[in-house]
């Protein structure tokens, strides 16, 4: 059993000058065969492995990561967690994730620094406000907390937001999800890796998948940069690369990959104690525990795998930001980066079976995968273990593009994560 993290462990290790901490997870060599191989060592992949071991007792599992854990979109997002989605299918899936978030640090014995500081989503036109009302009422009907704030209430809740009538983007009101907030993204990957490893899962880094072994329409293993690995079942969770992996398996996905950019400012004293997002003018912002303001933009329009985007997108976002928050206009930026998001035509993910037997894909989260990490891993583990989707991800199948049962979440997911 792994070392349990607690105040007493901390005190004991402090007494030995923190030189005796043990490794959080092993770095084993791959075995010749596993019951389940998960491709992708980000939050979703590691969560899948963790719940396979914890909920389904499947521990002969490997997670293959081509780089380092959480080095893809897990380490590149703006860490926002919420469940205010319009349609029933999405609302239930994201609310499932949010409920898991609420107990995650205790479950993993790893502090993921989940902070339910409240999430404000602003409206800037009459029509924006009408759409916002519709969404709030739909969310409330699903039993999820959400409320409408008037302009005066917004000004009181977030005083640094420019709510004056002469603002370039006047605030007509906002929706507020008090249970929304942020979490520490790296800790989510590390916590799940540690939890999975403790239950016997092999977490293997620097191991890139180069092909699938498919016999008679059934996956039986993988080719990797560390040799062939046999697998009874394979789960692919590779945000930003799922089109490439699907190509290796010989089928196509309704997905296009785009850069999504984010950036942080220099650290400053606490100034913003909630998350503010504006879908209308494409900006979302929160303040990290280090004091940096974390900003996110919309996606670049063109397909790319480059992990950087174009300056016009950043410029648009900053224009909107300083109109909403004039107080930020003299801040300096510390760094800026891009991640590759796999976007579906209906802005909802694909979680389930593929044309290849025993090969499962969990992809297409677009701009908003981080918030779903625990729920995504939980339902995907169920899908892999039983061979059939969990009731919460049944609607998110690849077949929906043929049946026409699309889950159009552009309103909720088009921006702001």
């Amino acid at each position: 059993m792994k070392q349990h993290y607690s105040i007493f462990t901390l005190a004991r290790n402090a007494a030995s000058y923190h030189e005796k901490w043990t490794e959080a997870w092993r770095s084993p060599d791959p075995k010749p065969e596993y019951d389940v191989v998960i491709v992708g060592g980000g939050g979703h992949g590691l969560a899948t492995a963790y719940y396979l071991a914890k909920e389904h007792g499947i521990t002969n599992v490997a997670v293959l990561e081509k780089g380092w854990l959480g080095g893809g979109n897990t380490g590149r997002n703006t860490t926002i967690v919420r469940s205010n989605y319009l349609w029933d299918e999405s609302a239930h899936l994201y609310e499932h994730a949010l409920k898991l978030w609420e107990g995650l640090s205790q479950d993993l014995n790893y502090n993921v620094m989940f902070s339910q500081r409240g999430l404000l989503s602003t409206a800037h036109t009459v029509h924006d406000m009408q759409a916002l009302r519709r969404r709030v009422y739909a969310i409330q009907l699903n039993g999820i907390d959400s409320e409408i704030l008037t302009r005066e209430q917004v000004a009181e809740y977030c005083p640094i937001l420019d709510c004056s009538p002469t603002a370039r983007y006047p605030v007509f009101g906002a929706s507020l999800q008090r249970r929304g907030g942020v979490a520490r993204h790296d800790a989510v990957a590390w916590g799940y890796a540690r939890g999975a490893d403790a239950r016997g899962v092999d977490v293997i880094q620097n191991c890139e998948v180069t092909g699938f072994k498919i016999e008679g329409g059934k996956v039986v293993g993988l080719e990797t940069t560390r040799g062939s690995i046999g697998a009874k079942k394979v789960g692919v969770v590779v945000a930003g690369n799922c089109g490439v992996l699907a190509g290796m398996a010989g089928f196509r996905l309704p997905i296009e990959s785009h850069p999504l950019q984010a950036m942080v400012s220099e650290p400053i004293k606490p100034v913003l104690d909630c998350v503010v997002m504006s879908g209308q003018v494409h900006v979302y912002v929160s303040q990290s525990d280090k004091g940096e303001l974390v900003f996110g933009a919309g996606i670049d329009s063109f397909n790319s795998y480059s992990q950087y985007g174009s300056p016009p997108v950043v410029e648009n976002m900053l224009n909107a930001l300083i109109e909403l928050f004039p107080i930020f206009s003299r801040l300096r930026f510390l760094r800026q980066w891009g991640g590759i998001v796999d976007t579906c035509p209906d802005a909802s993910p694909i979680i389930g079976k593929t044309p290849i037997e025993n090969l499962f894909f969990n992809c297409g989260w677009g701009t908003g995968g981080f918030k779903a990490t625990p729920g995504s891993g939980h339902v995907f583990a169920h899908t892999i273990a039983t061979g059939e989707p969990h009731k919460l991800n049944a609607a998110f199948s690849l077949e929906r593009f043929a049946t026409g049962y699309l889950i159009d979440e552009h309103g909720a997911a088009g921006v702001a994560h």
Binding site: E256, N303, S304, S306, P312
Partner: protein
């Protein structure tokens, strides 16, 4: 920032253009005979290559004409732009085609 050579106007900054996604997708002429899955292939399924991508752009703040570009999705290098109706040029790199 991309510098895109419009076949009609020459090189212009990216923000003058709007992106119109994957090119050379032909609408099926035998629609009545296609299954739902085959329609889905046409409507939704995309190549999304890591490498050369044959795509459409529109010079929205210029001549407002559509054209094709062969662009690398890793380096963003534009190998060629060409008029609608022309066949895709062979580009000696990557897995795009």
């Amino acid at each position: 920032m991309l510098l895109i050579p419009c076949p009609y106007c020459g090189k212009r900054d990216e923000h003058e253009f709007s992106y119109a996604r994957e090119g050379h997708i032909t609408r099926p002429t035998n629609g009545e005979q296609l299954s739902d899955a085959e329609w889905a292939q046409y409507l939704f399924m995309r190549k999304n290559p890591k490498g050369v991508h044959y795509e459409r752009w529109m010079h929205a703040k210029g001549c407002r004409r559509y054209f094709y570009a062969a662009r690398d999705t890793v380096t963003h290098e534009i190998y060629a732009t060409y008029e609608m109706g022309q066949p895709a040029p062979v580009v000696d790199r990557g897995n795009g085609r």
